[in-house]
Amino acid sequence: MTNPNALLHRRDVVNELLRDRGDLLVIAGLGAPNWDVSAAGDNPNNFPLWGAMGAASMMGLGLALAQPKRKVLVVTGDGEMLMSLGALATIAVEQPPNLTIAVLDNERFGETGMQKTHTAAGVDLAAMAVAAGIRTSRIVKSAEQVTEIRDLAHQGKGPVFAQVKISPEALVFVLPPADGGILTTRFRQSVLGDEALYN
């Protein structure tokens, strides 16, 4: 019997979000979300960030607008999302149906010594997303809810926002390529075809 109050494990969450991913496009925020997405399998359709904190959700918007027939999933952390709360308003105004943002919320700045973020004091990112105008927004605490977010992301009925409460565990790093040029070129080649190499 599993404890219903047990916190989710971040890599289980990401593995489920990326299950049967098909041609899903994924932006991963810097730090642990990058390592989690990479642990689920390095993939040219991943763009894992190594810096530019606060970029993830707006990169997802630009990509979703440029590729309206593809589904875009942003996986990032609570600290990264808190740095770009204005992006929730911008994304809500634009209403991209093919964009899902999943925040892995361990209530900590994980890379810097597990200091508490504002979500540890109760800041409700999911409610902020709703208030901005992202109507499909959840606080996720169970595996079943993760599956629901996974399905919504693949269906393109967004924008979708999920604040996934996870255990503050420190796991082994799984590193994707670090060269931004390689990450950019392989992503573009995968999405746009070989033509991307000539332009």
Binding site: M59, L63, E94, R188
Partner: protein
């Protein structure tokens, strides 16, 4: 004593034509996404893009959102432009790591405050720091201080950005835009 509030370039009889030229250049360059925090100097260009169904105009809460958005657009095969005021350049500093390290194009068109004819002392620090900040982050900067030079400067920066995958910024000086003076609007 000359009245320093008098304005040599403030009220021109005809609207400037350079925004129309810039619009055509950006269309020819294939721009599909426009990220912007509005500035009066960009208003005519913004109206042109808003009237264009082929272009998505996204209002941002802060300029750095636009740097990230246009990086995502590039990953998805679309080109874009970021329209901002010089004060917004400071908001972009760390985010400019993204186009620099990823060999991505980024075209920024910056309308200046805090230079020629500025009346508001609070605009001076960022206005005077704008070019240095951009260059410190690896952005190629060119300036246009005459209306006739704006279009060709934007053309050059767009080619640099999109053909060499680098961030490039055009600074449009207050000599082109006309200096504001809120003191004239204030109750005497």
């Amino acid at each position: 004593m000359a009245d320093l509030a008098a304005k040599p370039n403030q009220t021109s009889p005809l609207p400037p034509s350079w925004p129309d030229d810039v619009y055509r250049i950006l269309k020819d360059a294939g721009v599909r996404q426009v990220g912007m925090v509005p500035d009066a100097g960009h208003s005519r260009l913004i109206r042109a893009f808003e009237a264009d169904p082929a272009t998505r105009v996204v209002t941002l809460t802060t300029e750095e959102e636009g740097v990230a958005m246009l990086a995502g657009a590039w990953l998805g095969g679309q080109r874009g432009v970021l329209l901002l005021q010089s004060s917004g350049v400071g908001n972009c500093i760390n985010m400019l790591s993204l186009p620099a390290i990823c060999h991505m194009p980024l075209l920024m068109i910056v309308t200046m405050r805090g230079d020629w004819g500025e009346f508001n002392p609070w605009q001076i620090p960022m206005g005077q720091g704008t070019q240095a900040v951009l260059e410190a982050m690896g952005v190629i900067v060119t300036r246009a201080d005459e209306p006739d030079l704006v279009a060709q400067t934007v053309w050059g920066a767009a080619n640099l950005a999109f053909n060499t995958w680098r961030p490039a910024a055009v600074l449009i000086g207050q000599r082109v835009l006309g200096a504001k003076n809120f003191k004239e609007l204030a109750r005497k």
